[in-house]
């Protein structure tokens, strides 16, 4: 079996189509990295902003001092209070600036928590908590928890870290369209640090588009053997190899090559980050929604691993459908077309059957990897049985069923080959 797999891997890796696709994929990663690198907000960018803000504050303070001086000893309580407030701002921003210059993230987090925590605590027991309009209490609470996580673990945060750069699934309504635009724009944070860039790549790749890309990559893995004709399958069939192993080895090969492709993608992404920026933090917090507006944070390493695992199961599921149609139709384009049609129809249909009791066990629900792992899907569908575990189980069980069916058809076809 191993020798057969080895031969299949050589066949795939030496095919011109595969090589072109791989080069295209590599170029895509490099281009995407360039985009992410350009869009990464760095401490220097914030320092410039802070300095400019402090300059404005200084000017304003100077104006207030001038007002106070022009009063020539007369008491002006209002101006004095204003000066005190601005001086507090000035002092905080000065500390913040110094911390940014020294990249002292713990201090920065302390300052943010110090400023943010009292407001959140005040709202905690408020019976009229904001639950729909940004920023909801949930967003405030999770942001504070994120700051604490970053501070406690002495992690370098992905900038920006202000409130307007954070939104959650519960922030459905915005007070004004400009605010909405700013929040939506800033809450998509880019970081060219290795593991953070890997997260961006995974978020982009681990979707229906990514699955389709992989399906194209291996579309002809079965059909190119010329099943039913005097194709290369005859070479395999006239060797001391059990016929069943031919199909199994092909499936294993597709799985192995997919795994290797994803692994190389991951290594390349991290290396690009390390070379041009830094490694990043494996324990960076990723928000996981809980039932009844509870939440936890998962470290980025675990999130990436789970993403990898779930996408792998998606591929397993897609390949099993592709193999079934390849064995039945023996034609590459028809098999690929039927596979894509099945997946797209399945996803559309699953959205309509979301209220049925078996809906959480329909694999078509779980193609948005990130939303599944963070439970954003469960929040959207208001059903926490749409979980990562159920997604994995659904993909696994259905794939095995389809594979078994494919295997039986292949064996029968081989036996009664015309």
């Amino acid at each position: 079996m191993l020798r057969l797999i080895q031969f299949e891997i050589i066949k795939i890796c030496k095919s011109t189509f595969f090589r072109i696709m791989m080069i295209g994929f590599l170029l895509f990663i490099l281009t995407y990295f360039t985009y992410v690198y350009i869009n990464t907000v760095r401490a220097d960018d914030l320092i410039i902003n802070l300095e400019s803000m402090m300059f404005t504050q200084e000017q304003h303070l100077q104006e207030l001092y001038d007002v106070l001086e022009s009063n020539e000893g007369e008491s002006d309580r209002e101006t004095e209070q204003s000066i005190e407030t601005w001086e507090r701002f000035q002092e905080r921003d000065s500390k913040l600036l110094q911390a940014y210059e020294e990249e002292d993230w713990t201090t920065i987090m302390e300052l943010e928590i110090e400023q943010y925590e009292p407001g959140v605590e005040m709202l905690r027991n408020d019976p009229y908590q904001n639950v729909y309009t940004w920023p909801t209490f949930f967003s405030k609470e999770t942001l504070l928890a994120q700051y604490k996580w970053i501070r406690d673990r002495e992690i370098t945060p992905v900038l920006r870290i202000e409130e307007f750069a954070w939104k959650t699934a519960y922030d459905e309504v915005f007070d004004d369209p400009i605010g909405e635009e700013i929040v939506k724009e800033n809450s998509i944070k880019y970081s060219s640090a290795g593991v953070h860039f890997l997260k961006s790549v995974f978020q982009m790749l681990f979707s229906l588009i990514g699955a389709i890309l992989f399906l194209f990559l291996f579309a002809d893995v079965v059909t190119k053997e010329g099943l039913g004709r005097n194709g290369p399958i005859h070479l395999l069939k006239t060797q001391p190899i059990h016929r069943q192993k031919i199909l199994v080895s092909k499936f294993m090969t597709v799985i192995i090559v997919s795994f290797m492709t994803l692994l190389i993608t991951a290594i390349l992404s991290i290396m690009l980050g390390v070379i041009f920026d830094r490694l990043g933090d494996w324990d960076y917090p990723v928000l996981i929604y809980g039932e009844e507006r509870t939440f936890t944070y998962m470290n980025l390493g675990t999130y990436l691993l789970q993403s990898f695992g779930l996408f792998f199961m998606i591929l397993l599921f897609c390949y099993s459908i592709l193999f079934l149609f390849s064995v039945i139709t023996k034609k590459t384009l028809i098999a690929l077309g039927l596979t894509l049609a099945t997946i797209i129809i399945g996803i559309t249909w699953s959205k309509e059957s979301v209220l049925s009791s078996f809906a959480p066990y329909i694999p078509f629900h779980y193609f948005s990897v990130g939303e599944v792992i963070t439970n954003e899907l469960a929040v959207t569908l208001e059903d926490f049985t749409f979980s990562f575990a159920n997604g994995m189980i659904s993909f696994g069980v259905v794939s095995l069923g389809v594979l078994f069916m494919t295997f039986v058809i292949f064996v029968v076809q081989s036996k009664y080959s015309n």
């Binding site: 066949k11 030496k14 095919s15 004709r229 290369p232 069939k237 006239t238 060797q239 001391p240 015309n418």
Partner: protein, 294 residues
């Protein structure tokens, strides 16, 4: 028994394409399968190697059922070059054979040298000419030094040098004890390889072709033709008469010395002896007279 095919029948839908084939090969030999296109030669070879399903009959090769995949350690089947992978090199193909057949990789060098494809073994197959592909196919089937070698049109696309080389290799394999069943349209090459030719027509082996195949026919002029004919009839020896009054018989009916002795015993004088080579083409012409005339 090297090859035992009993009552093999194959149907496509309602059309019977193999009509009860029986073949028995007990000792190593080279057997040629000859017949017009569509006579069932490739189908027969494909059924024998389990590439095609057949409805009736039994096939046993080298003492094993034809479905036993372990058979392919000792059996090789040279097929259509469409089974080659264009993106792979010849070396990749041979290495694969080595791996699955548990043959040392060092054998590749020996075999490529023998076949004469050392210079291009590491090139991609998609850049091969038809002849180069045939070389590779030959190299692939002799890697495991098979005891039984089935070949479907191996001479297609070969230039004269390559054809001579292939014939040399096949004869060497035969001398080493390999039984070769070869399907070919090249009757001249067949003549050079073997005298055992199975002619196929409409999915059946022609009965005549299963008898020993004479390579020579003698034409004798005798002093008393009528008496000689009477003796031959008495001895149940098949013979022909030509316009020149000669008596003709195949070497398989009676050898020349026995015929002479028989005539001498009956006081018949031999006046002249002529011999004529009977090639595969002549045999084919006799058996497929109808097709040729139409």
């Amino acid at each position: 028994m090297i090859v035992e095919v009993k009552g093999l029948k194959k149907r496509y839908k309602k059309q019977e394409v193999l009509k009860g084939i029986d073949i028995q090969v007990e000792t190593p030999q080279i057997i040629a399968l000859v017949g017009p296109n569509g006579s069932g030669k490739t189908t027969l070879l494909n059924c024998m190697t389990n590439l095609l399903f057949f409805q009736e009959g039994e096939v046993s090769l080298l003492g094993k059922k034809h479905t036993d995949t372990s058979l392919f350690y000792d059996l090789s089947y040279l097929q259509d070059n469409r089974l080659l992978y264009g993106s792979l090199t010849g070396y990749d193909h041979l290495k694969f054979i080595c791996n699955v057949q548990k043959i040392p990789i060092s054998k590749i060098k020996e075999v490529t040298k023998r076949v004469g494809m050392e210079s291009y073994v590491k090139k991609r197959v998609r850049n091969y000419s038809l002849g180069m592909k045939q070389h590779l196919l030959l190299a692939m089937v002799i890697m495991n030094e098979p005891r039984l070698l089935l070949m479907d049109e191996p001479l297609n696309g070969l230039d004269p040098t390559s054809a001579i080389n292939m014939r040399k290799i096949l004869l060497e394999l035969y001398e080493e004890g390999t039984t070769i069943i070869i399907s070919s349209h090249n009757l001249d090459e067949i003549d050079r390889l073997t005298n055992t030719i199975y002619f196929m027509k409409d999915g059946a082996l022609l009965k005549e072709s299963l008898q020993d195949f004479a390579t020579k026919r003698y034409y004798i002029q005798v002093s008393d033709r009528d008496k000689a004919i009477g003796i031959l009839k008495e001895q149940n020896i098949l013979f022909t008469e030509n316009d020149e009054g000669q008596i003709g018989f195949d070497e398989t009916e009676v050898d020349l010395q026995t015929f002479i002795n028989l005539m001498n015993e009956n006081d018949i004088m031999i006046k002249a002896v002529e011999d004529q080579k009977i090639g595969a083409e002549k045999r084919y012409r006799e058996l497929f007279e109808e097709e040729l005339s139409s």
